[in-house]
């Protein structure tokens, strides 16, 4: 304890503090990732022949590319829906009393408090042939026979949006909270309409939150294996299921590794775009 008397700069910490986490990441994340990459560089299923055959196979196969494309599109649809539905909630949050605020936070957090499997089964019940939506539409006479919602892209986007909503709403609430309300009042008093104020003042200032929310929602939506397979069904194939099929059912680990690496790079690319946008937006948001 005597060594503590040595004077040191209290405002900075040695990077030694990050060592345990760094070690943990190296052993349990970086090392397996390297192993995965090495495995993907083999042309045969047993991993004896080196080569980039798996990547060539994926990148020249229109089917595989369409699976990647539809997965990225699914993420975009879910993110857009979350943003459209989440923004008003986040805005409302800062316009109401503290009791209602607690209620909103509770509603937003509620999905996080139940298991994703339970939430997904709930959606099966809601979207099913005898589910809430179909029975309501039938009883008001809007439809004669139940419409197909389960195992459709529409149903899947809806379910994923609900499941991932907290990831969008929380950063938005945080970002909107940091905007000085006087700025909006000033904009209005200087003659801008409410739409103009919204687009020119609120949206630019909340961009960091929008981008953080989009990144989180996007990454979560495209990798949501459980919801994708239970609500999407076997006729829609997305990257996580494609990967699982190759790794588990077919025991083709090199191709599965190549799929994961390609998927990882595709996701990183999208996240990088969001990151770049968020750096550009810092001119507004960081103010």
């Amino acid at each position: 304890m005597a060594a503590a008397s040595v004077r040191r700069d209290v405002t900075s910490y040695g990077i030694g503090l990050a060592a345990p986490l760094t070690l943990f990441f190296l052993v349990f994340f970086i090392a397996p990732l390297v192993q995965l990459f090495v495995l993907s560089l083999h042309n045969d299923t047993t991993g004896a022949i080196w080569g980039i055959g798996q990547y060539v196979h994926f990148l020249t196969d229109p089917f595989s590319l369409s699976v990647l494309g539809s997965t990225l599109l699914l993420g975009a649809e879910v993110t857009a829906l979350c943003l459209v539905l989440g923004f008003p909630i986040a805005r409302l949050y800062h316009r109401v009393g503290s009791r209602t605020q607690t209620l909103i936070i509770l509603i937003v957090l509620l999905p996080l408090l139940t298991s994703v499997v339970v939430r997904t089964f709930a959606w099966i019940v809601i979207l099913g042939r005898q589910g809430i939506i179909n029975s309501t539409l039938l009883s008001i006479g809007a439809i004669d026979t139940p419409i197909r919602l389960l195992y459709t892209q529409f149903g899947l986007v809806l379910a994923l949006a609900q499941v991932q909503m907290p990831l969008m709403a929380l950063p938005l609430i945080n970002a909107l909270g940091r905007i000085d309300m006087n700025l909006e009042d000033a904009s209005c008093s200087l003659g801008a309409g409410s739409w103009r104020t919204f687009w020119k003042v609120v949206v630019p200032l909340s961009l960091p939150g929008i981008l953080a929310g989009c990144t989180l929602t996007y990454a979560a939506a495209i990798t949501a294996f459980i919801t994708q397979s239970l609500v999407g069904g076997g006729q829609m194939l997305f990257m996580p299921m494609y990967l699982y099929q190759q790794a588990s059912t077919l025991q083709n680990w090199p191709f599965a590794s190549a799929i994961s690496i390609i998927f990882l790079l595709a996701v990183l690319a999208v996240v990088a775009v969001f990151g770049m946008l968020s750096r550009l937006s810092r001119g507004y948001g960081g103010a």
């Binding site: 089917f63 089964f121 099966i124 019940v125 099913g128 042939r129 005898q130 589910g131 197909r148 389960l150 195992y151 397979s229 239970l230 999407g232 069904g233 076997g234 006729q235 829609m236 194939l237 299921m241 494609y242 699982y244 099929q245 790794a247 588990s248 059912t249 077919l250 025991q251 083709n252």
Partner: protein, 347 residues
């Protein structure tokens, strides 16, 4: 005295013991039996495990339920000290496990029951203690006359009411082979099956990502008829879901469920004894009765109850009525089939 250092050491030690439980055991670990999830796990927990423990001085055993393919992946990743001692496999994965050299030959000469098994169940690399039976499952509330053939799935009155599963599962793959056979194909000629599948599309209400999802779809009224597993629907029936099983006239499919001693297992003797227990007439008789209804393979077990009523009166009839598929041939082309199924069924 408690100071920061001793506290830290204690915490780290406790943490390490939690993270690496092997440290805390002086003797070998308990026998690990990887059964299947769902009805299999329930049946094994209630019947097989108590029978094994009773016969082996309460030896400790752990059930670790997971899919066949996941069992293989886990053992393959740690061949020298496998985390599993006894594996349970569907026919396709069993051949993969044998091919990857991760299972031991069964010590037939030591076994008291092996010779009593029907010939189809006598597998030297791991005998089959049970059969799974796949036929047609349907909702008796909406389908008044029981279906009698795989071909009934194509009937126009079932437009938008049929469920199937994809080829990830043994069920889906086996079913497609039978469809191919019905149209002149076989295990080596799946083409007629895919042509028939194309014609089935108007009737399809759902292509489930796994057989378990079919159960949910029945429950939600999303589908009324599907190829299905005899055992899987027993749980649904017991829970009051209107669902019945019918053996198609082309022959219900019998999948051998084989049980294997894992290579390099530290518990080989106990593993052998667990498998012996699973082959014994006592365990097989109990598992055959309600609510488990698992088809026995020991010829000394007389068929009874629901199984005798719906499936077969005795092993002779069982062999005559059931279709046994050649999974060696299926496995050779399965990845190509899965790829083709992916492409052709995708919307």
């Amino acid at each position: 005295m408690i100071n920061r250092r001793t506290l830290l050491t204690t915490t780290l030690t406790l943490g390490a013991m939690k993270a690496f439980p092997g440290l805390s055991y002086a003797q070998a670990r308990p026998l690990v039996f990887a059964t299947f999830t769902g009805s299999w796990e329930e049946a094994h927990k209630a019947v097989l495990v108590p029978a094994f423990r009773k016969a082996n001085a309460n030896a400790s055993i752990v059930l670790d339920p997971m899919l066949s393919v996941d069992q293989i992946a886990k053992v393959d990743a740690a061949r020298a000290s496998p985390p599993i001692d006894v594996m349970l496999h569907d026919p396709g994965p069993a051949l993969i496990a044998i091919g990857q050299d991760i299972v031991e030959p069964y010590p037939i000469e030591k076994s008291s029951y092996y010779k009593d098994l029907i010939t189809e169940a006598q597998e030297p690399m791991g005998p089959a203690p049970f059969f799974q039976v796949v036929g047609l499952t349907y909702n008796p509330d909406t389908i008044k006359t029981a279906p009698t053939s795989w071909g009934d799935l194509w009937k126009p009155e079932f437009k938008g009411r049929v469920g199937i599963t994809n080829l990830n599962s043994t069920l889906g793959t086996g079913w497609l082979v039978e469809v191919a056979r019905m149209h002149g194909g076989s295990e080596v000629n799946i083409d007629p099956g895919f042509k028939a599948l194309e014609a089935l599309k108007p009737n399809l209400a759902a292509v489930a990502a796994n057989p378990g999802a079919l159960a949910t779809l029945f429950q939600q009224g999303q589908i009324d008829i599907s190829p299905g597993n005899f055992n899987a629907i027993q749980i649904l029936k017991a829970r009051g879901v209107p669902v019945e099983f019918a053996a198609p006239k082309e022959g219900a499919i019998a999948f051998k469920t084989t049980i294997h001693v894992v290579k390099n297992s530290p518990n080989k003797e106990l593993a052998f004894r667990l498998i012996e227990a699973s082959l014994s007439p006592e365990v097989q008789t109990t598992l055959m009765n309600s609510p488990y209804l698992i088809v026995p393979t020991n010829s000394k077990v007389p068929m009874g109850g629901e199984i005798a009523r719906v499936l077969a009166k005795d092993t002779a009839e069982l062999k005559k009525k059931f279709v046994f598929q050649d999974w060696k041939k299926i496995n050779e082309q399965r990845s190509a089939w899965i790829e083709r199924f992916n492409r052709e069924i995708r919307v």
